[in-house]
């Protein structure tokens, strides 16, 4: 039987032959078949794409909105009480791992208060309400570190921009502090913030894997972890690249 499987997977061929076959298949759009599920890897990924995309895009949205406003607020009143609180929050948010935040949220908001379901996922096709309800806790858990990160970057680049000459000019010509912050400063700081958000996307994906495990969300992260535990190399190979 082992001989048969080896023959079927082509493991008896020399290494270069195996490698060339793999590259050729990939160029043809054949990304291999899962050893464990016996189905094409692309099909498995397609099935699991929705939860992961939902979770990560929702997290992006929430964290950019909250993170940028926190950072702006902190820079506006630099070294005031608001700034102190927000800086402390961002140091803390950086330090608490996403799965610990996740279990705290589950315990207090799902198990004690019964406001939201403990875990699982409902596709958006089954109603927007159920979809949001299942995604609230994972999104919050995943967002905490990300909000802290974005707030920190926003604050630093806002402070840099606020000390520029043209900000003094804007103040001199009598611009309101609202106009100064949002029209003059944030637009210029935005370039730097966007760059950093883009770079840290890889960081977000690492958190997605953990969050999906905590909340039992059948997404790509779970697929990768299961693939590793089952030694399902074709699946792992495609997911990682």
């Amino acid at each position: 039987m082992i001989v048969g499987i080896r023959e079927k997977l082509g493991l008896n061929d020399p290494m270069p032959v195996q490698f060339i076959r793999w590259v050729r298949d990939m160029l043809r759009g054949d990304f291999g078949t899962s050893i464990f599920a016996g189905r094409p890897v692309l099909e498995l990924i397609a099935q699991r794409l929705e939860p992961t995309v939902s979770l990560s895009s929702l997290t992006m949205l929430v964290s950019v909105m909250i993170g940028v406003s926190f950072g702006t607020l902190a820079a506006w009143r630099a070294s005031g009480p608001i700034d102190r609180v927000l800086t402390a929050f961002s140091a803390l948010g950086f330090s608490v791992p996403v799965f610990v935040v996740g279990y705290f949220l589950v315990y207090f908001f799902a198990m004690q208060a019964h406001w939201v379901p403990v875990q699982g996922y409902k596709p958006i096709g089954q109603g927007l309400g159920a979809w949001i309800e299942h995604l609230i806790l994972p999104t919050v858990a995943l967002s905490v570190a990300y909000i802290a990160f974005i707030a920190r970057i926003t604050r630093a680049s806002m402070l840099e921009v606020l000390s520029e000459d043209y900000m003094r000019t804007a103040a001199a010509k009598g611009a309101s502090s609202y106009a100064m912050l949002f029209h003059h400063a944030l637009k210029n700081a935005g370039v730097q913030i966007l760059t950093v958000i883009g770079i840290s996307f890889a960081y977000l994906i690492g958190g997605v894997v953990l969050t999906e495990t905590v909340f039992n969300i059948p997404g790509i992260g779970r697929l990768v972890v299961d693939a590793i535990n089952n030694r399902d190399y074709p699946v792992f190979r495609v997911c990682s690249s």
Binding site: S95, A156, G206, V209, V224, N229, R231
Partner: protein, 262 residues
């Protein structure tokens, strides 16, 4: 410097664990999932093991893996960074590889490395250090690029000093402040990665208590015995916070300009 003090305290507590913490692996089937009591401060887990003892012993693994990975990453990154900052051809090749490594999520890269050999503490440290190395190398390289044009380096070279000596005596010391700040960041992230990997079941082997695998093995019992998850979770957060604060403190120390801006 609160961070440094807190970290020292944690290290001492972890090192002294055998003196006061009790047995972390002894199972007692009759005392499963007990609430916190005078005998067992944090209660017991699903196999009747003392959660307090396991948490304290878990600190040893977390700190050891975190510090050693950070040290490995800092050392290798320093080496690559210094050479890349000085040699153009090496720079082009190696920094592109580093860029490639940086684009892979840390946890996935570590999992892939571990799946090559199977779980173990040694491979875990290497697997965590490799994804962290590029950031260090990049930073060191940028410092070296700035320093190599300075007059004192040119003077040393003109004075007949050999290149290795110039690198060692004149260029290496100027990278130290940046390296220490980055080292703290790397250490914090290494502790988080270790916990994440152990939580996913690919990190520290289950027979050794670590914060990550404690949380993983207790996840089904969150409703009955929340302390089994909260105790290691809070310790993890406090440790990483201490390291992060230490990093911030070091940055303020070495770069007073940044402090005024903050």
């Amino acid at each position: 410097m609160i961070g440094g003090g807190l970290l020292m305290l944690l290290i001492v507590l972890a090192l002294a664990a055998p003196i006061y913490a009790g047995d972390p692996v002894n199972m007692d089937p009759f005392k499963r999932l007990q609430p916190p009591s005078a005998e067992m401060w944090f209660g017991s887990d699903n196999l009747g093991r003392d959660v307090f003892a396991r948490t304290i012993f878990g600190a040893r693994i977390s700190l050891m893996v975190g510090l050693l990975s950070a040290a490995c990453a800092a050392l290798v990154g320093l080496l690559i960074g210094v050479v890349a900052g000085y040699s153009r051809s090496f720079d082009n090749v190696v920094m592109r590889i580093m860029d490639g490594l940086m684009s892979i999520p840390t946890i996935l890269l570590a999992i892939a490395l571990i799946s090559l050999t199977g779980p173990g503490i040694g491979i875990l440290i290497v697997a965590i250090a490799i994804p962290e190395t590029p950031a260090v190398a990049r930073l060191v390289r940028s410092v070296v690029l700035g320093v190599r044009e300075r007059p004192y380096v040119e003077a040393a070279l003109c004075g007949g000093a050999r290149l290795p000596k110039v690198l060692w005596r004149h260029i290496l010391p100027s990278t130290v402040p940046a390296l220490m700040v980055q080292g703290a960041t790397v250490c914090a992230s290494a502790i988080l990665t270790e916990a994440g990997l152990s939580f996913l079941g690919v990190g520290v082997p289950p027979e050794i208590p670590s914060w990550g695998n404690m949380i993983a093995s207790s996840r089904l019992y969150l409703a009955i015995a929340p302390m089994t998850i909260f105790a290691p979770g809070i310790c993890l957060a406090v440790t990483v916070l201490a390291v992060n604060l230490l990093g911030d403190g070091l940055r303020d120390l070495f770069d007073p300009r940044a402090k005024r801006r903050r």
